[in-house]
Amino acid sequence: MHRFANPTRFLRISNAVLPFAAIGTVILVLLGLYYGLWNSPADYQQGDTVRIMYIHVPSAYMAVMVYGIIATCSASLLIWKHPLAELIARASAPVGLAFTFLCLATGSIWGKPMWGTWWVWDARLTSVLIMFFLYAGYMALSNAFDEPGRGNKPAAILALVGVVNLPIIKFSVDWWNTLHQPASIIRLDGPSIAAEMLTPLFLMMGAFTTFYLTLLALRLRSEIAAARLRNAMMTGQVEA
């Protein structure tokens, strides 16, 4: 009856992770800001606006990654009915939505000086916008039912449908000639960015990741508490 698999072990793990993640976030952010704002050159053509990159790129990566996590969890929920998958997915959604928004915001702030406009409807930007709507739809759908767990399956299906969007986001810059930067970090022939820029970039990426882990652990606590309560009552009844 692993639908009621008591997630204590998982909870213990996440509780163990929590402090490290939290502290790690603080340290990495401080380091990242230091390198990003002081200890890195201004771009030879972009000037200081390039520093937006240290927020923009990590948030973009996180937005994409978190969606990937949600999709994976959704799959395992539909196939193996794994209870934790459902919890993780639901806990991740708002965080992912926030990262996507951050990516869009920083992006358009950066776009103003670079492209002379807040927004262009090119493939990269549009596909990210779609992801933003998908996040929103996912959350709306999973809360749209009167019955507690009823929204999980539909939401999971939606998340899987939305996966087709990920490759578009990732490769849009290569498939279509867009205003947007082509991949300059994850490349077969190695990064094409000045090393001094890479350091803060990676620091910030680390910071964002640990930040996500922190939020996840916190949210899971409450989610699991609620689920536990429900399960305890149900199983209690079943055995009674």
């Binding site: 409807w121 549009t126 779609i130 709507f133 709306a140 759908l141 749209a144 399956k153 299906i157 449908v161």
Partner: protein
């Protein structure tokens, strides 16, 4: 299997035509909404021309979306959907048939109306062919993707709004390629790549959408 498909198709078409209310409403929306834009933009024909493709496509999207709840809702309410899920025919096939019926009663009429609107928004004649072909390739995709949205919201609060929220983002690629194709035609550029992209989206939606919709329907009985 094929028998089931045709049975489903015939039945939905029959019902569509007999209680044509919502069917015609979505078409009426298309016309009424389109007639608003010449006003807003003012008489300048060139401005209108540049907009026409976009306006037509957006309105097509919206009016298809207007008729989505017709897909499963009533069958869900009166228990027919349960019986379908329990029938010999795979739900997948039935969803496909429903999508086809929906397209024949919604998408196709839109394609037929499009030229009228195009003239209304004085789109240059070079664009027509591409517009029509684009709609012919695009609207079936809209119906297919629509089945997912319509199935996901069964039993939900404010279903119609939710459907829109879920479906419209997924419609965006169709919209973009449809419009760019027409613009390319107007600019005298090659349209085949755009149309091929739309065709491939349709090809992808054909198996995926019914599968997802069927899964969603089963979930709705819980």
């Amino acid at each position: 299997m094929f028998a089931a498909f045709t049975a489903m198709l015939i039945r939905d078409m029959r019902m569509g035509f007999r209680q044509a209310a919502d069917l015609t409403l979505s078409l009426a929306f298309f016309l009424v909404a389109a007639s608003l834009f010449p006003l807003g933009v003012g008489p300048d024909p060139d401005v209108l021309a540049t907009l026409s493709a976009g306006v037509i496509w957006v309105l097509a999207l919206l009016s298809v979306m207007l008729s989505l709840d017709r897909l499963f809702q009533s069958d869900y309410d009166d228990g027919a959907l349960e019986l379908m899920a329990l029938s010999e025919a795979p739900l997948f096939v039935l969803v496909l048939a429903k999508a086809l019926a929906h397209w024949l009663t919604t998408g196709l009429p839109l394609v037929a109306l499009a030229p009228i609107i195009a003239v209304l928004l004085n789109m240059p004649a070079e664009g027509f062919a591409t517009l029509i072909i684009g709609l012919l390739l695009g609207t079936p995709t809209l119906s297919l993707i629509g089945t997912i949205g319509a199935a996901l919201v069964l039993g939900a609060r404010r279903a119609s709004l939710l459907t829109a929220l879920l479906v419209l983002p997924l419609y965006i690629p169709v919209l973009i390629f449809g419009v760019t194709a027409v613009d390319a035609a107007l600019a005298g550029l090659a349209v085949r790549p755009h149309l091929l992209l739309m065709a491939s989206i349709l090809a992808a939606a054909l198996p995926l959408a019914p599968w997802a919709a069927a899964a969603a329907i089963r979930a709705a009985f819980q």
